[in-house]
């Protein structure tokens, strides 16, 4: 489902953020990516989203060669990926309903279906009543659940989450992780970047540990590897 071969990414300044990384992720897997600040986790996510292109190497996602992807093919490619970020990235001037519906409008779902799908996915993340609220009227946990609803409403085969619990308290963090797990059980491949040691250790998933742009460990049913 996701294949990286010798992927290197060097920003204009300094040492490579990713240094010849190779990685295979199968369909339906749930993978944690952990590592120090600056180890290249977000860079990896950006490469998968085609926000960046690698300096060298190959990236295949969902049978698409991401590196060779033409500019005007990018939108269609991204529609196959659900994304969630630490800072939620909701459209500030639109309410919860509109934020989630936007993802469906992008792929031209008929309005009749949007009116059916949005409430159902909002109740899945437990926000059915707040559909009229603006993002600023919601707590962090609620905003992240809106972002999650938006990420999964189109049923993408892959879900990418970059520190989805980074701004949340432990209770909300657990709720988001449980939702991600639930989505994974529905068949979606889920990739989660996180610093949350407790959750990683408790969930017993595949854990990829990065350090200074390389993968230092890749364990099935692994745990959070301590620095020292």
């Amino acid at each position: 489902m996701i294949i990286l071969e010798d992927v290197k990414k060097t920003y204009s300044t300094g040492a490579p953020a990713l240094n010849n990384i190779s990685l295979h992720i199968e369909k339906g897997e749930f993978v944690f990516i952990v590592g120090d600040s600056g180890s290249g986790k977000s860079t990896l996510i950006k490469l998968l989203l085609r926000e960046l292109t690698p300096t060298s190497g190959r990236i295949i996602v969902n049978h698409t060669d991401v590196v060779k992807l033409r500019h005007r093919k990018i939108p269609r490619y991204r529609r196959g990926l659900g994304v969630v970020f630490q800072d939620f990235r909701l459209l500030k001037d639109r309410n919860v309903y509109e934020n989630v519906a936007f993802a469906q409008r992008v792929i031209a779902v008929p309005p009749r279906l949007i009116r059916k799908n949005v409430p159902s996915v909002l109740s899945l993340v437990g926000l059915a009543e707040k559909y009229k609220s603006k993002p600023r009227e919601l707590s962090g946990g609620e905003q992240q659940r809106v972002a999650l609803a938006r990420a999964i409403i189109n049923d993408p085969p892959i879900l990418l989450a970059d520190e989805p619990t980074g701004n949340l308290d432990p209770k909300n963090s657990w709720e988001i992780m449980k939702l991600l797990d639930q989505i994974n059980h529905g068949g979606t491949t889920v990739l989660v970047v996180t610093h949350n040691r407790e959750i990683v250790n408790a969930m017993r998933k595949r854990v990829i540990t990065m350090k200074k742009g390389v993968i230092v460990s890749d364990q099935k049913k692994g745990g959070y590897i301590d620095e020292d």
Partner: protein
């Protein structure tokens, strides 16, 4: 803030365009009327024979700028002079024709700006005593009209450039303000078209508003000015026939709206295109 400046500049652009267009159109209308009159009258040497007059007529008829040639015999000239100027005093002249030597050709032209050339040519002809230029005003009007045309073209082009520049700035600022939103939309898989559309739409709306305001202004100003001129120079009414507002607007409205929308579209589309790569 920038939108205001943009609308104002487009307005100024379209306003000047409309203003000059009305003036130029009226001028050419007046010129055309003048042109339809006699441009040049040719008088012959004393005692010239009918055959020679005939020959001169054929020569003149060959000129491209001559649209019509009318021979006026001395008798006809006298008759028309009597009719126009003497009225009741006619009888005091008896049967004498004071204009016995004034048979002539009246020459009508299809391009009044060639008048000078024609006169020069006519004066060089054998048997021609005098050439009379009757409609100097027309040639002068034509050159004034052309001058106005060029000056207005220049000003309009400058304003056009400024309008596009301002639109493009307005859109660029809008894009900067909403950069985050745009980024989010793109990550969700929105196409360039979807992300660009609101900005291009904004540009077109600004262009439309910018074009409509001056049209309304010109409508009222034109009516007032025509009314004023007609009252003030009532004597000239037969000579100066102004065009109706409908005649002006039938072309001006579509052209101005297309101009406004064009400026809006061009300015916003190119900017949105430039700033919204990835």
């Amino acid at each position: 803030m920038f939108s205001l400046a943009t609308v104002a500049t487009i307005s100024a652009c379209v306003f000047l365009f409309g203003l000059f267009y009305s003036v130029v159109l009226n001028f050419s209308n007046i010129v055309r009327q003048a042109q339809s009159g006699v441009a040049v009258t040719v008088f012959f040497d004393e005692g010239i024979s009918d055959e020679e007059i005939q020959r001169i007529g054929e020569e003149i008829g060959k000129r491209a700028e001559v649209s019509k040639l009318v021979f006026v015999s001395a008798e006809e000239a006298w008759e028309s002079f009597k009719r126009e100027n003497l009225g009741d005093y006619v009888d005091s002249f008896g049967d004498d024709n004071p204009l016995a030597e004034d048979s002539n050709y009246e020459i009508y032209m299809n391009d009044i700006s060639m008048q000078e050339n024609l006169v020069e040519y006519l004066e060089s002809l054998e048997g021609v005593r005098q050439v009379h230029k009757s409609a100097m005003v027309a040639t002068m009007l034509t050159s004034v009209n052309m001058l106005i045309g060029y000056v207005s073209m220049g000003i309009i082009l400058i304003l056009l450039a400024v309008s596009i520049f301002l639109i493009s700035n307005t859109v660029a600022i809008g894009i900067t303000v909403r950069r985050e939103e745009i980024g989010i939309m793109k990550l969700i898989g929105a196409t360039d078209f979807v992300v660009r559309a609101p900005f291009v739409f904004e540009g077109i709306i600004l262009g439309l508003i910018g074009a409509s305001l001056p049209l309304i202004a010109i409508y009222f100003i034109y009516l007032r000015v025509i009314e004023y001129l007609s009252e003030r120079f009532a004597i000239l009414n037969s000579l100066l026939q102004f065009l109706s507002i409908q005649e002006i607007f039938s072309t001006l409205v579509p052209v101005a709206l297309i101009l406004g929308v064009g400026i809006g579209f061009l300015g916003s589309f190119t900017t949105a295109r430039k700033h919204l790569r990835v």
